[in-house]
Symmetry: C2
Subunit: 410 residues, 2 copies
């Protein structure tokens, strides 16, 4: 993957200009090989603000529209980036494919298993790739860990875990009453709503869809009382203060993989907590644990007593810095979320410029996003196990050329 | 609970004199109000060593026997303490009840659901109490946390987690070839083999069997490759070096409670790691996490950035030191496992001296130990949910006198 911006110009339509969409637009406008031909949102003021930002950067006002189809079908658009509400990601991506456009979608869960299949079928039918913009796959820590995994530092991998541990009570409870979309999911659904930040990197560690796959899951939800308690303390007069939220405060999901590994996911957004993705990697030769910044490697970590105390992970993460991140430090780390946003956008843009498969493809998108719909099913059935489809239709166990994934396959 | 040793003398038969049994015997011999009338093990040398220890301490040699029934039926025994292999705990406890003796059993999992019921039925029929010696219920940290829970520092509890995270590869792989019992469980079983160190304290936090109960669980096991890999590196010539162990390296169990809380347990003994019981307490007002020693309390922990970083738990655990532990510090902390062994033994001895219910009773023993057999069932059925019986037969939802549990009910 190339970090500079010297490829052919990519003309983009941007759909979704909320907090995330606007910040990604600003990052795209720093890139020399990107032009923005259309900006779209359901709110006029956001569209105008985005048009103004493009005008100031490029001296030319892009199309502005409230209608996603107009942005998708813009004649000059080489590709579409979707950064709308979770539930519109896949339908809009399908519409983009259907109109012959390469498409990238921001992260989120699926609404149903069926839409995941539809996305795969549409991409296969049109032979147009899709990329999921899972920025955490490009995180400095996650890529250093991937590098350690590929160098066999942890031995055979056995178990991985991760969370979306983010106290979002104020955003979910109050938010921007007219515009947020997250609240509806928490009001009406009960499942692993947001699995990909932790699952994406884990899927890379475990070669999911490339020699391995997720077979089945079972999910369990705690009661939902975090937001209600928060309202009672902080916003007793809110119209939602006595509303029942459906989403359990802690939703736990166990996943079984074809090669015998297990994955544990936790969705955790409505109780007081510190932010953490609570990553865990366990192998026959060592382990890493995000909480407590712990690294323990057999025969390397000094053993001073029976408790086998861990070491700080930082020196190892620096020692095993991923080649892409070594290059990135020399080039200059930039953009949001400690630099990962830049990398994930460049990966997508490069796939458009070189007309190649993106590194996080439609099978990754479908298999990671489907966890949301399947966890809802499992919880609805009292934590019954639910099969996870093989979206690759057997392709996962074939040896395939992975040059478009050089940063992940090493 | 009284810390001194001024009650009526309790005459004990001790069954099981391995590493655990012998160290508990030594602790019992420091107590003025305890006499040892019989010591029993299946190995003669252990019996003789224990007899010698009692002789040196008390000037009188106790009965020594290889036959458990002889120790149980010793005419002078007021009570029996069972510290044998896991699979013999419940059968021997039933035999003790059947012979009119109060009995305490060391921790471990159950072999079957049926034996848990048998234990309950036998105790109910004979009206003789049983105590499970779960020392971690008396840990300084666990009791401080219980104190915080009862003082509502965490608000309404929503989720708890805990692990038995202990690298036992050398003990399981090699051990004392003739005498260990753990190895057989790892060779032949696949489940949550050892749940009570973490589940006991959690059951206290959540009022399990006293206003709440565990309803159902589902378990998932990773592949079992930790011991094999360890043999390949360390003991390639061992006769077990190519044996398949059944026990998954990481076994995860999710439990649903009647009041809507979830409990997550992890059994984790055959991969490299540091020791941790990985406790987690989550409530509407705050959280504690053992790994990383993190405490985060809403409105108390200073918020300096969006990540809401946690505080060190230590000052809180000291501030909320449990009344029993305040007394214990003044009295002088003593005995193994940072003092908890002394407390759990005194709790049992006091229940014998005062002929009262022990604080960890037969319903606790059955409901905590049954998790092992039920997790095996769930794993055998592909992580299907399995109901957890109500051993109290409805008693859990009745308001009951809890004076014998003053240290836990506060």
């Amino acid at each position: 993957m190339k970090l500079n911006q010297r490829g052919n110009t990519v003309n983009l339509s941007i759909i979704g200009l909320g907090a995330r969409g606007y910040s990604q637009l600003q990052l795209l406008l720093t890139m020399k090989d990107v032009e923005i031909v259309s900006v779209c949102d359901r709110y006029q003021d956001r569209v105008e603000k985005a048009q103004q930002a493009v005008l100031e950067s490029r001296g030319k006002k892009p199309q502005g529209t409230l209608v996603a189809s107009e942005a998708i079908c813009h004649k000059d658009a080489d590709a579409v980036i979707i950064m709308t509400s979770w539930e519109t990601h896949i339908p809009l991506a399908i519409e983009a494919l259907n109109n012959g456009k390469r498409v990238a979608l921001e992260v989120g869960g699926s609404s149903s298993l069926e839409e995941c299949w539809q996305l795969v079928h549409e991409s296969e039918k049109t032979r147009i790739p899709v990329m999921l913009l899972e920025n955490c796959c490009y995180g400095e820590t996650e890529m250093a860990l991937l590098n350690m995994v590929r160098q066999n530092v942890f031995g055979t991998l056995v178990h991985c875990a991760g969370s979306y541990g983010h106290d979002l009570r104020d955003e979910i409870g109050l938010g921007d009453i007219n515009r947020h979309y997250r609240q509806n999911h928490f009001l009406h659904r009960n499942g692993e709503l947001y699995p990909t930040h932790e699952l994406g990197p884990i899927a890379n560690y475990l070669h999911i869809n490339r020699g391995n796959r997720m077979l089945a899951l079972t999910s369990m939800a705690s009661k939902a009382c975090g937001i209600h308690a928060w309202f009672q303390t902080n916003h007793k007069q809110s119209p939602l203060a006595n509303t029942n939220f459906s989403e359990g405060d802690i939703v736990t999901t166990m996943i079984q993989c074809a090669q015998g590994e297990t994955i544990l996911l936790t969705h955790d957004c409505t109780l007081p907590r510190f932010y953490s993705r609570s990553g865990v990697i366990r192998g026959t030769k060592g382990m890493w644990m995000e909480d407590g910044h712990a690294m323990y490697l057999d025969g390397i970590t000094p053993v001073t007593d029976w408790m086998h105390r861990p070491e700080e992970d930082r020196p190892y993460l620096e020692k095993y810095r991923h080649p892409l991140w070594q290059e990135y430090y020399a080039f200059g780390v930039r953009g949001g979320h400690d630099g990962m946003d830049y990398l994930v956008l460049r990966a997508f843009l490069e796939s458009v410029q070189e007309q190649k498969e993106p590194p996080i493809d439609v099978y990754d998108a479908a298999s990671w996003m489907c966890i949301t719909a399947l966890s809802e099913q499992s919880i609805a059935m009292g934590s019954a196990p639910v099969p996870i489809p093989d979206f690759t239709n057997g392709g996962w166990c074939l040896q395939q050329e992975q040059s478009h994934r050089q940063e992940f396959e090493l």
